[in-house]
């Protein structure tokens, strides 16, 4: 998510992007100090109200409702629809005994590690390394292509990949032309297909994060290593990567959070299928809640996904820290 990219971009260059820590408290004219404390608090907190209300109604309330609903048989059809009742931990015991849920958990890990942690992260780092110091026109052409695949809306990316991987699509036409095997990618290799599509879609983010970090690395260290006879490979492993350690950490967190919640791309490409072969947690949750109308069960899965997200988000907050 671009949103976090910016927070990250800022964290990378403390002096330039982060404001000086702790702006001094305003020195107010003497007369104002005598105003009643209550009215002062109101002026100070009042502006926060719209944001707090929006977040309370649309973020906190749903999370609260999820906790409530996960202990009920809330449903849109059947018994749960007529009269909702508390069923204790039944949703959770059902969930952990549900082989489809366990499968979706495994597929989520495969998808997140394959397309995010390995795919986008490594390819992004590689691109940032290779692009450094290259011809600027060449760099902007390649950069534009990669960023374009990231800027276009997710549903358009899904449409583009649907066409690309289709039986009559560009890829299979090319493979056919070269007399190479041309399987029905989306049916035979659904997980592989969505992983590749998501690498295509998200690599730009990691590339931009790493390029920004590298442009602020001190060049003298690199020159010193070079003078001391380190070859390119040694310079990468011993100098560049250790210097980028913090950036790599934050990028991994952000990429994991983004990949964990990918829905549109998988839903539009394979809809979790064939069967349940590519239904990651968000897809499985959607199907249980909106196709089979089991809202209570879906809410229990929401909590699982939220907890996983919250753990990574907490690590991310710890890495970034608040400078206020």
């Amino acid at each position: 998510m671009a949103a976090r990219a910016n927070a990250e971009g800022r964290a990378l260059r403390p002096s330039a992007a982060w404001p000086a820590p702790a702006a001094p408290p305003p020195v107010r004219p003497r007369g104002r100090a005598l105003r009643p404390a209550f009215s002062r608090t109101l002026t100070r907190l009042g502006p926060l109200a719209p944001a707090v209300v929006l977040l309370a109604v649309f973020m906190a309330a749903p999370i609260g409702w999820a906790v409530y609903a996960s202990f009920t048989n809330e449903a849109l059809t059947g018994v749960g629809a007529a009269g909702t009742s508390f069923i204790g931990f039944a949703n959770f015991t059902r969930m952990f005994a549900d082989p489809s849920f366990r499968q979706s958990l495994i597929l989520t890990v495969v998808f997140t590690v394959g397309s995010g942690v390995i795919g986008q992260n490594v390819l992004g780092l590689l691109l940032a390394l290779l692009m450094r110091g290259r011809n600027s026109i060449f760099r902007s052409v390649i950069g534009t292509i990669i960023v374009a695949s990231w800027v276009i809306p997710e549903i358009v990316a899904a449409f583009v990949w649907y066409a690309y991987l289709n039986d009559q699509g560009t890829l299979n036409s090319a493979l056919h032309f070269l007399h190479l095997p041309h399987p029905s990618w989306l049916y035979v290799y659904p997980m592989f297909s969505v992983i590749v599509a998501n690498i295509w879609r998200g690599t730009a983010f990691s590339m931009l994060v790493y390029s920004a970090a590298m442009s602020s690395l001190p060049t003298d260290v690199m020159e010193a290593a070079s003078v001391d006879g380190a070859n390119a490979w040694q310079r990468l492993l011993r100098v560049t990567i250790p210097l980028l350690k913090r950036t790599i950490m934050t990028n991994l967190m952000l990429v994991t959070l983004q990949t964990l919640s990918v829905f549109t791309l998988i839903f539009a490409l394979t809809a979790g299928g064939p069967g349940t072969a590519s239904s990651t947690l968000p897809i499985y949750m959607y199907q249980e809640a909106f196709k089979f109308y089991q809202l209570g069960y879906g809410a229990a899965m929401t909590l699982v996904l939220l907890v996983i997200g919250a753990i990574f988000s907490l690590i991310y907050v710890r890495v970034l820290r608040v400078e206020s």
Partner: protein, 294 residues
């Protein structure tokens, strides 16, 4: 494939690198080759979209437009079934953008200017919330929308979209405000302005660029969102273009790919234009802006 054989087909400008040292030259050529291959692999899926949109007889495979035509664009720009979704998207993202911009600017001011007891925990919660997967909470959001009878409401959906981008927007606005020097306001206060007057006359003009970035940003993020309107809106005449594109291409069989490709390009254009605009105006710290929020 070795660098020697392939260097023959590269332009002279690239080959001249090998003059300095043969080994370094080989490495440079390999680097350019690898980058070219990655570039082609990334371009290949996109190429189809552009070629198909200009093709009178587009199929799912990329091929040179034959006949070359702008008819696909004309066709989707004249039908009301295709314009209504764009208008709905404009309402959703426009409302979300404006609401987020105002709420974030108001919230950022006290967070940037005053020392308050709960400020640090509040900022932690905001930062934490930027990391939460929005996809995860769609089931309970649907539940709450049902309870409050808000389902299929464009305004409520827009407000929810605003709330999803709000944590990051507040974070961004606070950093903008921190960059506006305090002494300007102090000078205004000494001259007898109230804190609200100082805000209106001094701070607001200085943070207009920042606030517009937040607004544009929200617009970009919400314009491409598919899952939220797909869940929260029910009637066909409320659906934004992201949902209609999905509906069109998931109808197997009788899809006319040319017009759909043209429609996708029209749908993508505003995001690309705004992205370039934000990047050109602010550059630097903002070159990471984009539209990937799922």
């Amino acid at each position: 494939m070795t660098a020697q054989t392939s260097s023959g087909i590269l332009p002279a400008a690239l080959r001249s690198f090998s003059v300095t040292s043969p080994r370094k030259g080989t490495a440079t050529v390999i680097t350019y080759l690898v980058l070219c291959v990655i570039g082609v692999l990334f371009l290949a899926p996109l190429l189809w979209l552009i070629l198909a949109s200009l093709n009178g007889n587009a199929t799912l495979s990329a091929s040179w437009p034959h006949p070359f035509t702008l008819g696909n664009f004309r066709q989707v720009l004249t039908g009301s079934t295709t314009l209504q979704p764009l208008l709905n998207g404009l309402i959703l993202s426009g409302v979300a953008g404006v609401v987020t911009m105002i709420a974030a600017t108001l919230a950022a001011y006290p967070l940037s200017r005053y020392q308050m007891r709960f400020k640090r925990p509040f900022l932690y919660i905001i930062l934490f919330a930027t990391g939460l997967p929005i996809t995860a909470i769609m089931v309970p959001v649907y539940g709450v929308f049902v309870q409050l009878n808000l389902l299929d409401s464009l305004v409520a959906t827009a407000l929810f979209l605003a709330a999803t981008t709000l944590p990051f927007a507040i974070w961004l606005m606070k950093n903008f405000m921190d960059a506006v020097p305090m002494d300007l306001e102090e000078a205004a206060w000494t001259d007898g302005a109230s804190s609200m007057q100082a805000l209106r006359r001094i701070v607001v003009p200085l943070i207009v660029p920042g606030a517009s970035v937040v607004g544009i940003f929200t617009f970009i993020l919400t314009w491409g969102n598919f899952f939220v309107p797909f869940i929260l809106l029910t009637s066909q005449n409320h659906m934004p273009a992201s949902v209609t594109i999905y509906q069109f291409f998931s109808q197997y069989g009788e899809v006319s790919y040319g017009p759909l490709a043209a429609y996708s390009i029209i749908f993508t254009a505003p995001v690309v234009v705004l992205y370039v605009l934000v990047q050109r105006t602010l550059g630097g710290a903002f070159n990471l802006a984009g539209a990937t929020k799922g």
